[in-house]
C-alpha cells in the first residue's frame, strides 16, 4: 500500500526532533483523525539552515514530515514556499489516495513555520 520511499522515510525519518531556539514553528492538525505535525525552522540569511519535525500520525504523516524537511533544508525561504503537499507526495513516489488529504499536510506545517518566522522578524 505504501511506496518503498514512504516506508524508508517512515522507518528512518530524517530530521526528527525539536529546535529549542527555532526562528519559526508551524503546527497543523487533522481534527478527524487526530494527526499532529509540528515543524521547527532555523533561518540564516534567508536560507533554511536547520529544520526538524515532530509528528503524531500514520505512516504517511511521518513520511511526509520527514520528506518535507529533506526537501527544504538549505533552500531559501522563497524556494521553500514553492513546495506544496503535492510536491511532497510526488517526492515519495505517491501516496495511497485515501491518504492524500488526511495525512499529506507537512508542506502546510512548513508554510506555517515560515509565516511564524516572518511575523517574528517584523517585530
Amino acid at each position: 500500500m505504501y511506496s518503498e520511499k514512504v516506508m524508508d522515510h517512515f522507518s528512518n525519518p530524517r530530521n526528527v526532533g525539536e529546535i529549542p531556539d527555532a526562528d519559526g514553528i508551524g503546527e497543523v492538525g487533522n481534527p478527524t483523525c487526530g494527526d499532529i505535525m509540528k515543524i521547527f525552522i532555523k533561518v540564516k540569511d534567508g536560507v533554511i539552515d536547520d529544520i526538524k519535525f515532530k509528528t503524531f500520525g500514520c505512516g504517511a504523516a511521518i513520511a511526509t514530515s520527514s520528506m518535507v524537511t529533506e526537501l527544504v533544508k538549505g533552500k531559501t525561504i522563497d524556494e521553500a514556499l514553492k513546495i506544496s503537499n503535492k510536491t511532497v507526495a510526488e517526492a515519495l513516489d505517491g501516496l495511497p489516495s485515501k491518504k492524500m488529504h488526511c495525512s499529506n499536510l507537512a508542506a502546510d506545517a512548513l508554510h506555517k513555520a515560515i509565516e511564524d518566522y516572518r511575523n517574528r522578524s517584523k517585530k
Binding site: F10, V16, C33, C58, I62, K99
Partner: protein, 384 residues
C-alpha cells in the same frame, strides 16, 4: 526474520486437518449435490455429514443449519429474513452499538424499509446491559440481535440472560457468534438463541463459507431465490468443499475448545500483565475478565495505530488497530467510540488476537519488540 501472526480475529490459517478433507473433496468429489446420480449422491452425503458436524458442534439439529458464503451473509439473511417474515407482527428491532457492520448495515437497510431500529449503548467495557434490552422492548419488537463476543475488544455479552428475556416476550433472538465460536462454548440452547451466525475462516477453515442456525419453528423467510437448495432456505449450488471444511473446522474447534481456551487465556493474561508492567500510559480496552481467551486490545497514549502496525510489521509481527488511518476509514473504531474511549486513544489502539499456532515464545518476542517500538514512536510525537 521471525514471523508471528497475531491477527486471528481478522482471519485464521486453515488447519492442516481441515485442508486435507477439503482437498480430498475438491479433487475427488465434484458432483452437484442436487443431482440424482452417483456423483451427486456422493456430494450430497459429504454436505449432510458436514451439516451433522456443524449441528453437533453447537448443540443443534442438522436440519436447523443453513450453509452460507460466510458470517456476513449469515448475519444479513438472519436479520432480513426474520424481519420480513414478522412484518405483520411488528416492526421494531433491537441491536447494540458495537455490532459488526454486517449487522449494523443490514439494520440500516431495514430502517429504510420502515423498520424501527433501537441501537443500545454499551458500558465502558463494551457490555450491553440486560435491563437496557428489557427497557427497549415494546409490543412492536419482533427481533433482537446482540453479538456473542465482540470482534475488536473481545467482550462477551450476556447472551443467556437476553435469550431468556426474548423467549418470555416471544421475540426472535439472533446472535453473531463469529468471534466466539472455537473460543468459548457456543451451544444454542444454553444461549437461548433462535438464529446464530458462524464463519469458517475465523475457526481455521477457509474463507467463503459460513452457516446460519435457524431454530426449528422460527418465523423466518429466505432472502435469496433460485434452485431451492438448503431446503429452500438459501438458493445457490452448495460450496461443497467449503461446507466439508466448515464441518471439520467446527468439529475440531469443539473437540479442542477446553484445552485451547485455557492455553490462550494463560498467554493472553501474561501479555496483558507484562505489557502493562513494561510500558507506561497503556490502557486495556474491553472487559478485564469477561473477554474471549484470545483477545487483547490496548491503547498506547501518543502512539498512532497505523504507525504502530507498520513498525510491528517491520519486526515480523502482524496485528491490527482500531485506528481510522489503519482501517482506511474516516473515523476511528465505532466499537471503541461507543465504549467512550476518547478519539485520540481510539486512534492509538492495538488489537492482538492469539491463535492455535501461537506459542509462549511468540508472546515473549512481542514483549521484547513492543517497548522499543512504542518508545520510538512516542519520541517522534509532539508533546501534547
Amino acid at each position: 526474520m521471525r514471523s508471528v501472526y497475531f491477527d486471528h480475529s481478522a482471519t485464521t490459517p486453515v488447519d492442516k486437518r481441515v485442508a486435507a478433507e477439503m482437498i480430498n473433496c475438491i479433487t475427488g468429489n465434484f458432483g452437484n449435490p442436487s443431482s440424482i446420480h452417483a456423483f451427486g449422491r456422493r456430494a450430497r452425503m459429504a454436505v449432510e455429514e458436514a451439516r451433522e458436524r456443524v449441528a453437533k458442534g453447537i448443540g443443534a439439529n442438522p436440519d436447523e443449519i443453513v450453509f452460507t458464503s460466510g458470517g456476513t451473509e449469515a448475519d444479513n439473511i438472519a436479520l432480513e429474513g426474520a424481519a420480513r417474515a414478522n412484518r405483520e407482527r411488528g416492526n421494531h428491532i433491537i441491536t447494540c452499538a458495537v455490532e459488526h457492520h454486517a449487522v449494523l448495515d443490514i439494520c440500516k437497510t431495514l430502517e429504510k424499509d420502515g423498520f424501527k431500529i433501537t441501537v443500545l449503548p454499551v458500558d465502558a467495557c463494551g457490555m450491553v446491559h440486560v435491563e437496557d434490552v428489557a427497557g427497549a422492548v415494546s409490543e412492536k419488537t419482533i427481533l433482537i440481535t446482540i453479538m456473542h463476543a465482540n470482534n475488536e475488544v473481545g467482550t462477551i455479552q450476556p447472551i443467556p440472560e437476553i435469550g431468556r428475556l426474548a423467549r418470555e416476550r416471544g421475540i426472535i433472538f439472533h446472535t453473531d457468534a463469529v468471534q466466539s465460536a472455537g473460543k468459548i462454548p457456543v451451544r444454542v440452547d444454553e444461549l437461548g438463541v433462535d438464529l446464530l451466525s458462524l464463519s469458517g475462516h475465523k475457526i481455521y477453515g477457509p474463507k467463503g463459507i459460513g452457516a446460519l442456525y435457524i431454530r426449528s419453528g422460527t418465523r423466518w423467510q429466505p432472502v435469496s431465490h433460485g434452485g431451492g437448495q438448503e431446503r429452500g432456505q438459501r438458493a445457490g449450488t452448495e460450496n461443497v468443499p467449503g461446507i466439508v471444511a466448515l464441518g471439520k473446522a467446527v468439529e475440531l474447534a469443539a473437540a479442542e475448545l477446553d484445552e485451547e481456551a485455557a492455553r490462550l487465556t494463560r498467554l493472553r493474561d501474561k501479555l496483558i500483565q507484562q505489557v502493562t508492567e513494561r510500558i507506561s500510559h497503556v490502557y486495556l480496552n474491553g472487559h478485564p475478565v469477561n473477554r474471549v481467551p484470545n483477545n487483547i486490545n490496548f491503547s498506547f497514549q501518543d502512539v498512532e495505530g497505523e504507525s504502530l502496525l507498520l513498525s510491528l510489521d517491520r519486526e515480523g509481527i502482524a496485528a491490527s488497530s482500531g485506528s481510522a488511518c489503519a482501517a482506511g476509514a474516516v473515523e476511528p473504531s465505532h466499537v471503541l467510540t461507543a465504549m467512550g474511549v476518547p478519539p485520540a486513544l481510539a486512534q492509538s489502539s492495538l488489537r492482538i488476537t492469539l491463535g492455535r499456532e501461537n506459542t509462549e515464545d511468540d508472546v515473549d518476542y512481542l514483549l521484547a519488540v513492543l517497548p522499543p517500538v512504542i518508545e520510538r514512536l512516542r519520541s517522534m510525537a509532539p508533546k501534547s
